[in-house]
Amino acid sequence: MMTTMTMMTGAEIVIRCLQEEKVEYVFGYPGGAVLHLYDELFKQDKVKHVLVRHEQAAVHAADGLARSSHKVGVALVTSGPGATNAVTGIATAYMDSIPLVIITGQVPSYYIGQDAFQECDTVGITRPCVKHNFLVKDVRDIAMTMKKAFYIASSGRPGPVVVDIPKDITAAKCKFDYPQSVQMRSYNPVVKGHLGQIKKAVQLLLGAKRPMIYTGGGVILSNAAEQLATLTRRLGFPITNTLMGLGAYPATDAQFLGMPGMHGTLEANMAMQNCDVLLAIGARFDDRVIGNPENFASLPRKIIHVDIDPSSISKRVRVDVPIVGNVPDVLDEMIKLLEAEHAKTDIADWWKEIDGWRSKQCMKYTMKDVIMPQFVIEKLWELTEGNAIVTSDVGQHQMWAAQYYKFDQPRRWLNSGGLGTMGVGLPYAMGAALANPDKQIACVTGEGSIQMCIQELSTAKQFRLPIKIINLNNRYLGMVRQWQEMFHGSRYAESYMDSLPDFVKLAEAYGHVGIRVERPEDVEGALKRAFVDHKDDLVFLDILTDREANVFPMVAAGKGLSEMILAEDL
């Protein structure tokens, strides 16, 4: 056991806790309430601090590190505006169940409640968007609170945990003893699934005539891609991965039907809708995935739902076989049971039906004289051989990246699926670049989203992060414009991006390489320049794309999965 009998300040203890948790990077921004903490960071070199240019980006970058590495991301911000700026990042991580520990400074405890300078009720403000939060009121509680924070953030269904520490507590002293384990009577996440339920599920799967596997972010978060591949191949069933689950099953494999949902493929959505047994794993039947739940429930099918969070089960759709447990553990059990079975399911007719939907080629698009955004993503996939870590912001470019970059591995696709936060792309890329120095990092974005955290170009320069920014610039807030075109009589209210900066000059002003691409025949060359010639630089590719390209297929909000609009219908 690690015991030091010397007295330490609260600030020193916090940093020691980070060291004990093997935290390599802390993303943060200093301020009055965290000065003691920064002083201690300064005195050591195990934990590296990454100075962002806005607290929102600190949390996003920590989040990007977590998503790309299966580690807990850590951010450090000051009280008041530092904490409130961090809230968007925290809520983003919360919606996608990302393990983070966010340390927020607080005014001295004896000032709390007196409207002190830079005071806000951080615990109150963040309460609805954290897995848990703490206000530390005694220096002797810091070590245990930090231990609990890391444990809660990373176990069960992961999520962000905020630790709010008043300035005087970081200055107070006590002995430091980092607990090796933590026991909480009120928090005991389930691991093993109920064996009886798993047996029932396996029987259902073996008896299925039109089975479908549907998996979400839970498979990625729990590192269960290997088990998922074994199970899916053993069963020979079609499979779809949600936006949050892309990469859990190889997208280039024949059993993969593409992404489901609002901008999913025809074959994935029709198979979701028409299957007789649906195996849902680490997914939550989100409104962007199944559309209208009444429409979804209108066809009879048996649903097996594996999830670590009981509250995700039977929340939006009725489930026949609920299995609460850690995904890899449950899948291991399923595989074991299947190995003992000799029965082989014959679903050739079902595959024939699926191939019928596939033959519609719902993802095909027409090339024009101008650059088609889908084409850029396809070229990006080719050039990076499908191995890059791709981050995105939110909008049309996000959907195109999800649709056309075929992710074969988990933790290669980082985006804000739940909260849909514009501005995450660049900070996600920063976190991913630091956690994966050996990998190519592409940030697919748009001229709207990139401006929401553009200041981070400065951070990326300081830390020499060789991110490639693929700006699909259509001079519109594309997804808003698309909805306005389809549902609001083409009245483009405030969706036109006027007075855009010259992104090439902007990138250069920050000390990076900027390249403008205006013709389809230049796309490949520009990508090569970025990824090969400027391998070690941040390159901002400002790609002028077709202005009014739309994302298809599409299921309009509130409609059912079988009511898809295909590009050819228009």
Partner: protein, 163 residues
């Protein structure tokens, strides 16, 4: 349907706001909420009266269980249970009303615990519906003030909610 949900909660600062915040954030309704420490000072016991379909009640209990400070959750109304609520009600008691109010309090087994020349304070315990009935039974013009604790509940027999 009406449900009575009992919760054992860590007696920590802010724990109650997590429960209350959950109900408002997810659009669940709270009819009454009572909270006080138990014989174990590290635990508080909450009783929440809420209503909703079976699906909603299932979500409420699951979401409550997800809160880190929540130790145990039980839907008391799933089985035999007892519920009680305390009401203090101040009523005008002068002239002919004085005797009538006294009689009514007796019928409902209430106790008069404060007396002035012009009014009584009556203490009344029972199920929520009994307290409602008492309020209905008294002339509305006579009621000066009411305060109710909200429902507390406990399971009958061997049903025990304890850590």
């Amino acid at each position: 349907m009406r449900h009575i949900i009992s919760i054992l909660l860590e007696n920590e600062a802010g724990a109650l706001s997590r429960v209350a915040g959950l109900f408002s954030a997810r659009g669940y309704n709270i009819e009454t909420l009572t909270v006080a420490p138990t014989e174990d000072s590290s635990l508080s016991r909450l009783t929440i009266v809420t209503s909703g379909s079976d699906e909603v009640i299932e979500q409420i209990t699951k979401q409550l269980n997800k809160l880190i400070d929540v130790v145990k959750v039980v839907d008391l109304s799933e089985a035999a249970h007892i519920e009680r609520e305390l009401m203090l009600i101040k009523v005008r008691a002068s002239g002919k009303d004085r005797e009538e109010v006294k009689r009514m309090a007796d019928i409902f087994r209430g106790r008069i615990i404060d007396v002035t020349e012009s009014n009584y304070v009556i203490e009344l315990t029972g199920s929520g519906s009994k307290l409602d009935a008492f309020i209905q039974a008294i002339d509305a013009d006579l009621i000066l003030e009411t305060v109710r604790t909200g429902v507390s509940g406990i399971g009958r027999g061997d049903r025990i909610l304890k850590v």
